[in-house]
């Protein structure tokens, strides 16, 4: 019998006050391709990083590569999200930075990054040319890293990792932020790699998986357990739905009829046109879904509404009844909006506690607050209670499992009870139950006179209050339509 590819004997990993993996033992034989699922915070990522050698494992893990294979005898781990640096080596980014257009080049272009990687890993560029095309990733090659959307970042990460064809490939949340087409392309690619001799470990609760996945496991109480199918993965405890805090029942005062109105908007970065002749009107109280493939201009469109885009001036654009650039400040605009987006989450203040995070919602700042007033403190406390975050109050946001981080970010979004909610892929990284809970809350909030703009790729993960939809493709409006009950669960080719 051949030796197992991965052999783990009594692996224990603990953080202060928290045993994550408790003398875990596990063997992965040749030909076994795993999906690890289960609850957030159970230790999946820790286990993956330990196998990849990124967390010291004190010799509890042995990897046996096959010398007869032509593939590199190594393990590659693709993290959930990677933080690139600028050309000068630091990571001091802010989420609006991708909308800036300066002559200085702060980060590498996608092409330069890939070429740099190819040189370092001794890879051939022609090997992935077709993949890049399949991913719909052609057009962004001249973009700088900072300009990429969250889905495009994921693609770049995947292209780099899959290109190397290691004998063992571990991907943490491979599908986060990918559109439908990209998910299918990825699965095909992974299947082809398996046929070439790559062995897979995917960490995900997603059910649309590569065909060659043949093993399932989850981590429970610090131990690995093999299960028959994803349906058997441990689920987070069903959340007890609590009553929405009373202050959120108040219908926000509005002395305007349209939240946003734009006509024939063009946004360009040099030669590159990001939004092309976009016209859109959002009336007070409407619930909108904004969709489009990765890189279609969704975030740019939202940034116009949120006061984050420097090119918003000089266009036919009105927000909350005022022409943009007529003396209002971006803080006047933001004060009316509760926003959450993957980018804002990634670039959020690293040192912010859960409490600071929520409190900063009153000032639309990234983790900063001044002395909050008594009423505001009460609202923060009520929301922490509502989302079961009270016990994490003083903990750093980034030390919490992703699901809890998202809830804290959502609390930040609604703490001031704004008239407009802009939720850009709020369920990214959440499992189906978490997403359902989240969207139920959105539905309940939406009852109280709020306007909603919601971005989501997954049809199954949408709030039911949605009544209109705008679809972008390559920066152009492809459709503006009402969503009726009939086509609510539409099988859409676009997303």
């Amino acid at each position: 019998m051949t030796e197992p590819v991965v052999h783990i004997a009594n692996l224990t990993i603990q953080y202060p006050n928290n045993v994550v993996l408790n003398s875990l033992s596990w063997s992965i034989q040749q030909g076994e391709n795993y999906v690890i699922g289960g609850t957030s915070g159970s230790g999946k990522t820790t286990l993956a990083k330990a196998i990849a050698g990124l967390i010291p494992a004190d010799n509890a893990i042995k990897l046996n590569f096959d010398a007869s294979k032509s593939l590199p005898a190594k393990v590659v781990y693709i993290s959930n999200w990677y933080q690139f640096t600028n050309l000068e080596g630091d990571r001091n980014f802010y989420y609006q930075q991708r909308y800036n257009h300066h002559q200085g080049h702060d980060t590498l272009t996608v092409k330069a990054e890939l070429e740099h990687f190819a040189k370092k890993e001794n890879l051939d560029f022609s090997a992935i040319r077709q993949r890049i095309q399949d991913f719909g990733f052609e057009d962004v090659q001249s973009s700088q890293l900072i300009e990429l959307s969250s889905g495009e970042h994921k693609k770049l990460q995947l292209v780099r990792g899959l290109w190397t064809k290691p004998q063992l490939l571990i991907i943490d949340e491979p599908y986060t932020g990918l559109d439908k087409n990209a998910r299918a392309v990825l699965n095909t690619w992974l299947d082809e790699l398996v046929q070439e001799g790559v062995q897979l470990i995917l960490i995900t609760n997603d059910t649309l998986l590569p065909n060659f996945i043949n093993r399932f496991a989850h981590v429970v109480n610090g131990q690995i357990e093999i299960v028959n199918s994803p349906a058997a993965f441990a689920k987070d405890k069903k959340r007890q739905k609590k009553e929405l805090p009373a202050f959120l029942h108040e219908i926000p005062q509005t002395n305007y009829e349209t939240v946003a109105e734009m006509n024939n908007i063009f946004i360009r970065y040099g030669e590159k046109v990001v939004l092309k002749d976009v016209s859109w009107k959002v009336n007070v109280g409407e619930k909108w879904l904004l969709q489009g493939p990765n890189g279609s201009g969704k975030s740019t469109l939202l940034s116009l509404i949120n006061g984050d885009h420097p090119q918003a001036y000089g266009h036919d654009l009105s927000l909350f009844g005022n022409k943009r650039g007529s003396g209002e400040s971006i803080w006047d605009i933001k004060q009316k909006i509760g926003i959450i987006s993957p980018e804002m989450h990634w670039y959020f203040d690293q040192n912010a506690t859960v409490w600071h995070t929520i409190a900063s919602g009153f000032y639309d700042s990234i983790g900063w607050f001044i002395d909050v007033k008594y009423q505001e403190q009460k609202q923060i406390e009520e929301l922490m209670e509502f989302f079961d975050l009270t016990e994490y109050k003083n903990q750093n946001l980034q030390t919490l499992p992703l699901g809890k981080q998202r809830l804290a970010m959502l609390a930040r979004t609604i703490v001031k009870n704004p008239p407009l909610l802009v939720l850009d892929e709020p369920c990214q990284g959440l499992d189906n139950d978490q997403a359902k809970y989240f969207n139920d809350v959105v539905d309940e909030l939406a009852q109280y006179g709020k306007t909603l703009i919601y971005v989501g790729h997954y049809e199954t993960q949408l709030p039911s209050c949605i009544e209109h939809r705008i679809v972008l493709e390559k920066g152009e409006v492809k459709a503006i339509e009402n969503i009726t009950v009939k086509n609510k669960h539409l099988e859409s080719a676009i997303v």
Binding site: E88, P310, H315, D349, S365, G367
Partner: protein, 493 residues
């Protein structure tokens, strides 16, 4: 043009040097109202010009850019910066006559030419703003009497001014009104509104004067900020190589060490920085820095004297007139040092190791910060001003050294700072020759704690701590840092 400071009687010199008041946030309650609806024209669209303009516009103000005809015709970067962000751009002739506030954000050296071109076009009663007072104070530029002259000087690079604003914060800022040019008494109201428009009011604002800003800014940049960091870095690198430490390791320790060490300075002042050391290492660093202070004090005093008398700016302007002959020669020399030419090695150095193995730099930084502060205060500059121009800015310069080493650090700072930096460096190295002879790898290159049991004399340690914590730079620093509640960690390692 005569040096403005030198035309003043002593009393008035001291008066203007002594303007430094940390402003209460209630002073900014009127927001940007004093500039609301007024036409703001910015001259220059580099890092400060563009980013301040973006902030001011996002604060609801009317901003456009006046550029030289050639810059527009040739579509230079400044033109692209402004037009790509949908600003109105025009020539001086087109835009200056319409401006209620002209903001000059061009490099120091161009000020005279820019002001001479702009001033005749400005309308009666308009306001002119600077972000550095060299042109007014040292060159003695006379501004038309109907024009109000103000200064708003964010104490951070332009990119940070923008980043912090969008995070909902701001950067510490210094504001001033030139007493010779405030005919309508509107100067302070407009300076405050401008400061609010850039977000500076959220991070602490120091009310200053043109004179205090120039004399303290020049002193800080020449001595502790650029001069001493350069001297200390080169001497440390050369010493390590001389003593057989791997050159790649030495290069990395020096390039990044100064950033890691001053990050502690930023958050906890000089005592916070020394608290990162073990007790025996702290006492050693303290003793070394006391010795360094004694050796370097006359040089710091000479720099302050030359700045006060105008001698520094006179000789530098001679070099300007001479096509920057000295500046360019010295710049080229900086590019040729062994440190500059040795790339940082591919070795892992932990955060704590930068302190333990680079005690000498901790001593240099303490000596430099305290000396610069003390010398400025002795010369009549207020502690608040002296703090901003010494301790506060040190981590910013250290950050640029970590990014690109010394040659590029010198290219990034103003030519004025660069010129002063070389003057200091050239005088300081020979002064430290004897001191450096005694230096061994225990304080630079290897862990000072190695082979020691960590014991210290109680009384000695208490004395050292007391001296460190009670230095005036620490007392004023504690107060000012409190206002900068959201100080960000900007690190390359």
């Amino acid at each position: 043009m005569a040096n403005y400071f030198n035309t003043l009687p002593l009393r008035e010199q001291l008066n203007q040097l002594g303007v430094a008041e940390f402003m209460d946030s209630s002073e900014f309650a009127d927001g940007v109202n004093a500039l609301k609806g007024k036409k703001i024209v910015i001259v220059g669209a580099g890092a400060q010009g563009l980013n301040q303009g973006l902030n001011l516009r996002d604060s609801g103000l009317d901003v456009s850019y006046a550029l030289r005809k050639e810059a527009i015709e040739q579509k230079r970067d400044s033109w692209k910066n402004a037009t790509d962000n949908n600003f109105t751009v025009g020539t001086y002739d087109e835009l200056i006559p319409t401006a209620d506030l002209v903001i000059n954000l061009t490099p120091d050296k161009q000020h005279t030419a820019v002001i001479n071109a702009v001033m005749p076009l400005m309308k009666q009663g308009a306001t002119l703003s600077y972000s550095h007072g060299f042109n007014i104070v040292e060159e003695g530029m006379q501004i038309r009497k109907d024009i109000t002259v103000i200064m708003v000087a964010p104490k951070c690079p332009g990119s940070e001014v923008r980043a912090e604003y969008l995070r909902g914060f701001g950067v510490p800022t210094l504001i001033a009104v030139h007493p010779e040019n405030d005919p309508q008494g509107k100067g302070w109201a407009e300076a405050k509104a401008y400061c609010v428009g850039t977000g500076g009011h959220r991070a602490g604002v120091l009310k200053s004067s043109f004179v205090a800003e120039v004399k303290s800014d020049l002193m800080g940049e020449q001595t502790i900020l650029c001069g001493l960091l350069q001297t200390g870095s080169i001497l440390s690198f050369d010493k390590m190589v001389e003593k057989g430490i791997d050159a790649g390791y030495a290069s990395k320790l020096v390039q990044y060490g100064v950033e890691v060490i001053t990050e502690a300075l930023k958050h906890g002042g000089v005592s916070g920085m020394l608290d990162r050391l073990s007790n025996p290492a702290k006492i050693k660093a303290f003793e070394l820095s006391e010795e360094l202070k004694d050796i370097m004090r006359p040089l710091f005093q000479k720099h302050q004297d030359d700045i006060m008398s105008g001698e520094f700016s006179r000789t530098m302007m001679e070099d300007w007139a001479n096509g920057d002959a000295n500046l360019l020669k010295w710049r080229a020399e900086t590019g040729e040092t062994a440190f500059e030419k040795t790339p940082a090695g591919d070795v892992k150095i932990s955060e704590q190791e930068y302190f333990d193995n680079y005690l000498l730099m901790v001593a240099f930084v303490r000596a430099g910060v305290e000396l610069a502060f003390e010398t400025m205060v002795e010369a009549g500059i207020k502690p608040e001003s002296a703090y901003y121009e010494s301790l506060h800015e040190t981590p910013l310069i250290a950050n640029t050294i970590a990014r690109r080493k010394l040659f590029e650090m010198n290219r990034v700072i103003s030519d004025t700072a660069e010129y002063g930096c070389y003057l200091f460096d050239q005088a300081c190295k020979p002064l430290l020759a004897d001191f450096m002879k005694k230096v061994d790898t225990d304080i630079v290159g290897k862990n000072y704690n190695e082979g020691k049991d960590g014991s210290v004399d109680n009384v000695k340690l208490v004395q050292v701590n007391e001296i460190l914590r009670n230095h005036p730079v620490e007392i004023v620093g504690r107060k000012l840092r409190k206002a900068m509640t959201a100080m960000k960690t900007i690190k390359t390692v």
